[in-house]
Structures are given as C-alpha cells and as structure tokens.
Amino acid sequence: MLNYTFHWRPAFNALPDMLWGALVSLQIAVLSMVIGVVLAVFLALGRQSNNKFLYGFSTGWVELARNTPALFQIYMTYFGLGSFGIHLDSYVALLAGIAFNNAGYLAETFRGGLRAIPHTQTRAARSLGMTAPQAFRLIVLPQMFRIVFYPMTNQMVWALLMTSLGVTVGLNTDLTGVTQDLNVRTFRTFEFFAIAAVIYYLLAKLITLSSRLFAWRLFRY
C-alpha cells in the first residue's frame, strides 16, 4: 500500500538553511509584536477617547483587524497598497500585515487591561503632582502590562504562526519560504514540511517558555 520511500537525508542536509529561515521568521514575529504593542496602546487609548475621529479611527482599525482573515490583511498590504503607488516588498508587506493584525487584537486586550485598573490609581498619581501623561506612563501602563502579559504571549505565538503566510506573497527567506523553495526544487514535500513543522513547534515552545521565565523574573513580588 505504502510504496513511497521517505528521503530524510536531503531534508536534514537542508537543516541549516531552514534554521536561518526560522531566524527570519522569529525576527518578523518580534518586530511585528513591537510595532503592534506600540500601536495597540494608542488604539486602546483612542477607543476610550471622547474625540469622535480618534474613536472612529481606532474602532475601525480594531474591527477590521479582528473580522477579516490575517491573510486578507497581508494581501491588502502587498497587492492593495499598490493602487496608491505604494509598492512594498514581500518582507515589509508581511510585517505590516501582521503588525496591523497584532495591533487590532492587542488593542482589545489592552482595553480590557486598562479597565481592570482602578481610576483611583490615576487620581492618586495626579494628586501627587504627576501630569496626565506621566500618570499614564508611570502608573497605569506598567500595571496594565502585568495584567495582559499572558494574552500578549499568546499573541506572540500567533504572530510567529502568521509569519508562515509570507510564502503566499512570495517571501522566500522565512522558514516557510525556504521550505517551499526546497520543496519546489526536490518535490520532497512531506519530509521538508514535517521538519518545518517541528521547528515551528519548537519556536512556539521557546516563546512560551522564555515568557514564563520572564514573568517569573518580572512579577516575583
């Protein structure tokens, strides 16, 4: 029944290339997360704002990011922006798409986190003489990040998994892209992608584990 011979040798020979690809994937995930977190803080603030424009803009962003597929968002940054004369290469388009998605999801998480912090905290900070931005930055934000730390870890893992979508817009330097290139050359689809799956799994575990360590170090008091 099974007259297919597995050829693991070429796949293992390609392992260094794939690991370099994994590094690129991780890089995109980290960058998209950093951009996403910064944007999400502003979006979360925008959703609490009384300014109609700011509220509408950030709500639109969040709902769009959460109610359309990530792949659609990446297509938008890669194919769609071309209509405005903006031609991003696939790396930047992928990064922008994932960062857009991250920001939308994280903004909702952050909004929940901000709501969990008592107003008295801000008031106490203000009455100690801090300005409003100071109170937000020094008192509210650190507490919020503590509350949303675990959801952020999950988002980071999702960001890593989303980087695999780069191959659909022609990225060939990340893990999936490298694997697809090897696959096209050798047609050993199963072997190469099985190894890619293992690497992705290990990377995801690495993220979870290191964030556990980080949390243990950070939140010990």
Binding site: L2, L64, L71, F72, L81, F193, A196, A197, Y201
Partner: protein, 217 residues
C-alpha cells in the same frame, strides 16, 4: 468618474467563493466541536496519564502553522494514494485544528464549575452521569459559549488558508478576478467587506451574550 471592469458574473463568482468559505467552516466547526467536546471532557475528567498524551497532540495542532498542516496533510494524502479531494483534506485538517481549540474551551468550562456544586449534586443522590448532564454541562455552557463563538469566527477566517492547497474560496476567488481585471484594491475590498459582513454581526452577538450572562451571574 469611478469605473470598474468588475462584471456581474465576477460578483457571483465572489459570492460562490464566500459560499465555499461557509461550507468549509460548517464542516470544520461541526467536526471540530464534536471531537473537541469529546477531548475536552476526557481532559477534564481523566487521570494525567490519559490527559498528558492527548494534551500534547492537541498542543502540537495549536503550535504548528495551519498552512504547514494543510501542506503536510495534502502531501500525506498523496503518499497514501487516498482518493479524496482537496476539499475533504481542508475540512479534516481544519476540523482537527478546531478540535484542538474547542477541547481547551470545553475543558475550561467544565473546570469552571465549582467542585462544591458537583459535590452537592452527588450528595443529593445524583449519579456521576446525572451530575455531568444536569449540573456541569449547563453551567459549563455559559462559560464556553462566548469563546466557542469566537472560535467559530476564527475558523471562518482561517479557511482563507485552504487556497494554498488549491481550493477556490472567497479570497482565492478575489485573487482570480484581480489577475484578470487588475484592480487589486477594489476587488480585495469587496472580499474584505464580505468577510466583515459574515464575521462582525456574529462577533457582536457573542460579545453581547457574554456581557449579559456575566451581568446575570
């Protein structure tokens, strides 16, 4: 003035793609929920040596990109020379993926029922099965349903990835049209709008349900 070469037939093609998206979502969520409830129940009630292996496999399904899972399943199908369509492969992979998340939701719901409540049920003379069906499941449902709605919408969006194994669903359909009429922004926007209209009302409903149930707790 705004002009487009998008024809009526193209719009119908897009809507057919949306139909495929919904069909795949339906089968994946149906299969995934049944399997997920089974695994979730096992995970919430079994000793660790049953729990750990199942948990490990489900964790793999959640930690490997869906795209890779589709490619692997598709090539595995060719290796085994199975005569099944890419559509079936897509549905099965998505169902397993859904099951992995659904199991955690069900498990969380069951574990959220306080042990004291269950003990009270047992001491009123209910059997273990009666306790499960009459006490645990109704209470777990309230915890799990909002997350389940979120999962269903997530799966609906993830169906976009089946385009990689050659299924023409909504996003792929839009791409086909873009290739012909070269208006990426416009066509993609329509596809995005369709996704949004399929997802947003249900997301709102879920959020409202969650809020109402929390208020009535």
């Amino acid at each position: 003035m705004f002009e487009t070469s998008l024809t009526w037939n193209d719009t119908i093609f897009l809507l057919q793609g949306a139909g495929t998206t919904l069909t795949i979502t339906f089968w994946a969520v149906l299969g995934g929920t049944i399997l997920g409830m089974l695994f979730g129940l096992i995970r919430a009630t079994s000793p660790w040596w049953v729990n750990a292996p199942i948990g490990f496999v489900l964790d793999i399904l959640r930690s490997v990109p869906l795209l890779i899972q589709f490619v692997l399943a598709n090539s595995f199908k060719s290796i085994l020379k199975l005569q099944v369509s890419a559509f079936t492969v897509g549905c099965v992979v998505l169902a397993l993926y859904t099951a992995a998340y659904c199991a955690e939701i069900v498990r969380g719901g069951i574990l959220a029922v306080p042990p004291t409540t269950r003990r009270a049920a047992r001491s009123l003379g209910m059997t273990y099965t009666q306790d499960l069906t009459n006490i645990v499941f109704p209470m777990a449902l309230r915890v799990a349903l909002p997350s389940w709605i979120g999962l269903t919408l997530g799966v609906m969006k993830d169906t976009a990835l089946v385009l990689w194994i050659g299924i023409v669903e909504l996003l792929r359909a839009s791409q086909v049209i873009v290739t012909r009429i070269q208006e990426p922004l416009f066509v993609l926007s329509i596809a995005g709008l369709i996704y949004f209209l399929m997802s947003f009302p249900i997301a709102r409903l879920g959020a409202r349900l969650e809020k109402r149930w929390r208020e009535n707790d």
